[in-house]
Symmetry: C2
Subunit: 418 residues, 2 copies
């Protein structure tokens, strides 16, 4: 414990930091059970990911709608490419930097399901539009934004494709009234640099016990608006886009939007969380989708929870109380806490399923507290794999994800780009 403070070589300042949840020294073949990866780590089961990519693509095809998966959930270029290769129409994103990330991942058609606001963000999109092979769409819902976009893209000599957003009272963005629709459409028509090419809504903000009926009613209204605008010749394309759907109500969106004349419209859904799924809110939402679909679902199989966080038991300071090495820094906690799905002790052949009463009941920044039967065989140094709820807010905690096979071999460590 000397008081001297030797200075490291200057070059050390510029070495990149190690990403959490990755291997330190070079390790040619990583297996999670051999402890070569620093835990906590985010883990994706490749077989389940592939299953989910395929399931939703087949579902959309079976309903005659196009699929633009929402990339905001994972922001993982390697996964964007899998979705594209499986037949996605394009990728949905939420922000201009996310659009840039999608473009750099090789995605050639991006729907930003959001308003494009601010010169800094418009500049990012203008950069992308310099590549004529890149298609981009964003939403508008106000005269002010239409005029700002019109000025900016006119000055750039570029045309921006926009979709009119329709919202619900008490919801998020989007025109609430027919009067708003008329004034925004009129403003678009005054801007030669804007092309109105579709209508968008996000039904996920509608809740309550009668949500399915309210959502269906809202979607009908949106479809009627789109058909009216088409009749009035307000679209700048032969075919207009009609789009909705997160990962909770996409079946209802298909019911209503697939009814359009597909000579005139491209019905398009934009679920994102389906790719990763969970054992929380999206598992419950999918169970309700299945109940609504009943026997009518033409697609075999179902979505599977593809993400786990692997962590250690760090301390058992009191009987039946374990402290785990994962916290709010590692997993979503806004829609239920991560819960144990596997228990493994280094040296064991394979992980086992923990007893159902083991429960994470408290989460801090870097720790979680798990209750367990004090007589159970649990040690400091054991590994607990945890399933999560709400994948979006787990993904943005990680720069690298370990994609594994069903034997826990790490096939690749892929980058996120939040």
């Amino acid at each position: 414990m000397s008081d001297s403070a030797p200075v490291h070589p200057t070059s050390a300042y510029f070495r990149p930091a190690l990403d959490k949840g990755t291997a330190g020294a070079s390790a040619p073949t990583l297996n999670l059970l051999s402890e070569a990866v620093s835990l906590p780590a985010a883990v994706i089961y490749q077989s389940r990911l592939d299953n989910n990519v395929s399931w939703m693509q087949r579902f959309a095809a079976s309903r005659g709608v196009a699929l633009a998966p929402h990339g905001k959930t994972t922001m993982t270029p390697a996964f964007f490419q899998r979705q594209r290769d499986a037949g996605a129409w394009g990728l949905t994103v939420a922000t201009a930097p996310q659009a840039t990330a999608a473009y750099r991942a090789g995605i050639d058609r991006v729907l930003m399901a959001n308003q494009l606001v601010g010169r800094g963000n418009m500049a990012l999109v203008a950069e992308l539009l310099a590549d004529a092979s890149f298609e981009f769409y964003c939403l508008v819902d106000s005269v002010a934004n239409v005029e700002q976009l019109g000025r900016y893209f006119k000055a750039c000599g570029l045309t921006l494709n926009v979709l009119l957003e329709i919202g619900v009272t008490g919801g998020r963005c989007g025109c609430r009234t027919q009067e708003q629709v008329e004034t925004v459409c009129a403003a678009i028509a005054r801007e030669p640099s804007l092309a109105l090419v579709g209508v968008e809504t996000y039904e996920g903000v509608i809740g309550g016990a009668d949500a399915p009926a309210k959502i269906r009613e809202h979607l009908l209204k949106v479809r009627n608006i789109a058909e009216l605008l088409m009749q009035r010749g307000l679209f700048a394309a032969d075919k207009a886009i009609l789009t909705g759907a997160g990962s909770a109500w996409y079946d209802i969106v298909c019911d209503v939007f697939a009814e359009v004349d597909t000579e005139l419209f491209v019905p398009l859904i934009r679920p994102g969380c389906y790719l990763i799924h969970d054992q929380g809110i999206y598992m419950e939402a999918q169970q309700k989708v299945r109940e609504r679909l009943g026997d009518s679902c033409a697609v075999s199989g179902d979505l599977q929870s593809a993400l786990e966080i692997w962590a250690y038991v760090q301390s058992i300071p009191e009987p039946g109380e374990a402290v785990l090495t994962l916290g709010k820094r590692d997993a979503a906690f806004d829609a239920g806490l991560p819960q144990p799905s596997l228990h493994y002790r280094p040296g064991w052949q394979v992980p086992v399923t923990p007893p159902p009463e083991w429960e994470v009941y408290h989460i801090m920044d870097q720790h979680s507290a798990m209750r367990f039967d004090p007589n159970a065989d649990l040690n400091v140094g054991d590994i607990i794999a945890l399933s999560t709820s709400h994948p979006c807010l787990t993904f943005d905690k990680w720069r690298k994800l370990n994609v594994i096979d069903d034997n826990y071999n790490v096939l690749e460590q892929v980058d996120t780009c939040f």
Copy 2:
């Protein structure tokens, strides 16, 4: 809207994604008011950061305790260096990858205020210990962990410095009873590769109305244990470390731990959030620190909230309802929502303070909802800067931070390393 899918050049796959909240095209002199930075963006006021670095260093000096700022809050190497340059004893971290990041930032003395668990994490620390000029400390609280560490570091031919952690019933890690203290110390003594060099506690898990009294009582117990172990000659160093303190109760830790014989002990505090501070839970905690200190505080000035998230008004879909372009992906939401601190309209000379009734009342993944007086002058495209509560969970949402001067010029964009 063609159906062709032109493929981007392969090299595009390997271009790094743009970090959110940074500039797109090259922009030599960035000013936030000129909209050269894509919003939302995380913003740090350099003057406030410097103030906070200095304030806590002077506070620790005035109380005769050493300061090892907790780096987990920011995980920003540029800030670690400022803290070290201001006179910090070392840096505190929470995990082995964080220790690696600190080492790579040129920090030569790291206290990992946590148990070191698992071969992957031990391997990271062993790599660092190969540099003999690097000092590392971690915590132990169980015989199992002591034996795991002893075996691992013996096999490496390395010595690991450990501090005994003392906890509280119902708290987090740490020995609860004298019996646990004895058995863990005996286990350490059996491991030639482990050196017991101090005692640690974290008082921040103690809550309730009588928290100050309970914390004081707990700290006295911890100090007594440390003094007892010293008397029994159980420390492997001439001077042992006695450490506690987050950013809420550091004054009480100073009261109790600065009473040790400084010939025998290094009293050490480890606050982290003080560096960034906030306008939420840590502002309140600091107000209570100031009340407890009263006139006894020998240090002028006070901590200042150094972090804001800048975002746009994206939509005003109903009178008095604004949707802002920031969400759970951009700011902490577990200890109060981000709240407006500045309002700016592109073209204005300077930002103004928004009326106190403007309030963010709901936050989603990528959006927030703000209520305002419908008669107020607020437009789509306006900028709102928001203060936050709980800096740790805002920082880990960002890869780049914009460090600005008091005129909103971006002085540098610094990297985080979560």
